[in-house]
């Protein structure tokens, strides 16, 4: 830092602390609400200190959910988790295979495959929801995990990240493994994939969060409570008249929906930042 005056040194700390408080502000009140009774919350203004109903509220949210919902947060967490893991793991496997073929093999149609995958890069599901919905419904995948997961692993981000990484791998390694008598799949499994673990970890963080936070797609294709994800459950609990909403249960569920991906980002911060800034180069 170049400026050495005391006031100049304190300035960034003050600014950053203020913004942290602003960022945390809604989270704090959501937490307070999740430890209070609904009467406390409805008696606006809501008390600003946490109450004593934390265990009761989270217990109810996890075991049965709000009265107007018919799905417990535990079930919804399971669904969100299956969807997030399915998208993250599925996308990583499919993309590793595709990138391996495109980089390490020369075959007629390689260019075509590359461009067909490439073009999906930026077109979000939002712009073609109705026809995608029809495909899933024709395949009989409404209200199923396959229906929740498969259309979400289309985008090519992972293929690109892995392709870039594979291109930086010295070809002598591949050639040497062939001379030593390994098949191409043995090279892939025991040499290439272990070398790729950093990009794989980065991709995992990004895709897990992407999957956990999907909203429009599950909103369209889940009509049965047993397939609700957390976000859909929250939406359903909030879609009545204000007085019928059990705010304390909703807010407990909001925190349950928020905490897992936040933990993933904080714990894997390094991989996450590397992954984000690398895919864009």
């Amino acid at each position: 830092m170049i400026e050495q005056r005391k006031s100049a040194r304190a300035f960034p700390h003050i600014v950053l602390w203020l913004s942290i408080l602003i960022i945390l502000f809604p989270i704090y009140f959501v937490f307070v609400a999740s430890t209070r009774t609904n009467a406390d919350i409805l008696s606006a203004p809501m008390p600003i200190y946490p109450g004593s109903h934390l265990i009761e509220n989270y217990g109810r949210a996890l075991s049965e959910g709000a009265k107007n919902l018919g799905a417990s947060a535990l079930t919804m967490m399971k669904n969100s988790f299956i969807m997030a893991m399915g998208i993250a793991v599925g996308k990583i496997i499919v993309s590793l295979l595709a990138a391996f073929a495109i980089v390490f093999f020369n075959f007629p149609g390689r260019k075509f495959c590359f461009w067909a995958i490439f073009i999906t890069l930026m077109l979000p599901v939002e712009v073609r929801i109705m026809p995608t919905y029809k495909v899933i419904s024709d395949l009989g995948m409404l209200n199923s995990y396959a229906g929740l997961i498969l259309p979400m692993i289309v985008s090519a981000t992972a293929v690109f990240l892995f392709r870039q990484f594979f291109m930086s791998v010295p070809r002598e390694i591949a050639e040497a493994s062939q001379i030593d008598g390994a098949t191409s799949m043995q090279f892939f499994r025991s040499i290439l994939v272990p070398m790729t673990r950093t990009p794989i970890a980065a991709m995992f963080v990004i895709q897990f969060i992407y999957g956990w936070n999907q909203y429009l797609w599950p909103l369209l294709i889940t009509t049965k409570q047993e397939y609700y994800t957390l976000l859909i459950g929250i939406n359903r609990m909030l879609s009545g008249a204000d007085v019928l909403i059990e705010w304390q249960i909703v807010m407990a569920t909001v925190l349950l929906a928020l905490i897992p991906p936040v933990i993933v980002v904080i714990v894997m911060q390094k991989q996450f930042i590397a992954g984000m800034t690398d895919t864009e180069k």
Partner: protein
């Protein structure tokens, strides 16, 4: 460049790309083609009769004041989010990059909201501003005399959406701005300081120009976010209301397709959105190519 070693195999590579290609065709090309196809037809939602109408779905859209209103609010919304979240994150990234103590703590505290779902960000702020139970709504009403009801007032609805969407987007911009700032060579900045350039001048003359690739990239990504990824917030917080005041384009596609069952009109809107994303992508890649050839 010397010829790269490649595995000799005929069938295997096809097997390897197969899963990706099947998914891409089933869930990308086929639906996209369907959207284009359906945009030329009028569909009876009950009978299943289909009539070819040419460009009628498009001309109907372009002569519909609702569509233009939706277009207008989408542009304003995307610009408001882009400008506010980029300005704030750049400012915060500069503060964090000042080689101060606890900077890794600050960094973590700025980054975690990235993990919060757009929809959840909407719920957090909805709860703060709910006219009946929200603490901020209460404060505005009883301490400042401002009646807050985003379900009735269009401008309040717009600002609430902007606040929630920007709150979430700040962390994304922050990551990129901080990475960009860290790659600005410090000796250059120090030399300017020795030559008597103050912090403001150093920023505009040295740091900001060196950040321009990051800034441009973020500009495109934020516009894409504002245009296409804000459906969850709009759906949860305002449902496009009051009236149709905050009905952004992605919300209208969904509403016309899913609620109003107007498949032709919804498909035509999908096609227009696709063209917009493709245009933004092309701009993006043109720029990246230029950067690479430097």
């Amino acid at each position: 460049m010397a010829k790269q070693y490649e595995f000799p195999s005929k069938g295997l590579p096809y097997l390897l790309v197969m899963p990706q290609m099947v998914i891409v065709f089933l869930f990308f090309f086929w639906p996209s083609a369907q959207a284009i196809w359906q945009s030329f037809f009028l569909q009876d939602p009950f009978g299943g009769r289909v009539i070819f109408v040419g460009f009628e779905n498009y001309t109907k859209l372009f002569s519909d004041p609702d569509y233009w209103a939706s277009f207008r609010v989408s542009v304003l919304f995307a610009l408001a989010i882009t400008f506010s979240s980029m300005a704030i994150s750049l400012f915060l990234a500069i503060q964090t990059n000042k080689k101060i103590r606890f900077d890794s703590f600050y960094k973590t505290m700025m980054i975690w909201p990235y993990a919060v779902a757009t929809m959840v960000a909407g719920v957090l702020w909805l709860f703060m501003f709910n006219p009946n139970v929200g603490v901020i709504a209460w404060f505005l009403k009883y301490k400042l005399g401002i009646e807050w009801n985003h379900l009735l007032k269009a401008d309040q609805a717009f600002w609430l959406l902007t606040l929630a969407a920007s709150w979430k987007q700040i962390s994304y911009n922050f990551v990129f701005f901080l990475a960009g700032l860290q790659s600005v060579p410090l000796p250059l900045v120090e030399a300017a300081a020795i030559d008597g350039a103050g912090p403001v001048k150093r920023f505009w003359k040295i740091i900001f120009p060196m950040l321009s690739p990051t800034t441009f990239y973020l500009l495109v990504m934020n516009l894409v976010y504002g245009f296409f990824e804000t459906f969850p917030i709009v759906h949860q917080v305002t449902a496009g209301g009051p009236g149709k005041a905050t009905q952004v384009l992605v919300y209208k596609v969904w509403r016309d397709g899913v609620i109003n069952l107007d498949l032709g009109g919804s498909s035509a809107q999908s096609v227009i959105l696709m063209i917009m994303v493709i245009a933004l992508t092309v701009v993006q890649f043109r720029f990246i190519e230029r950067k690479v050839t430097y």
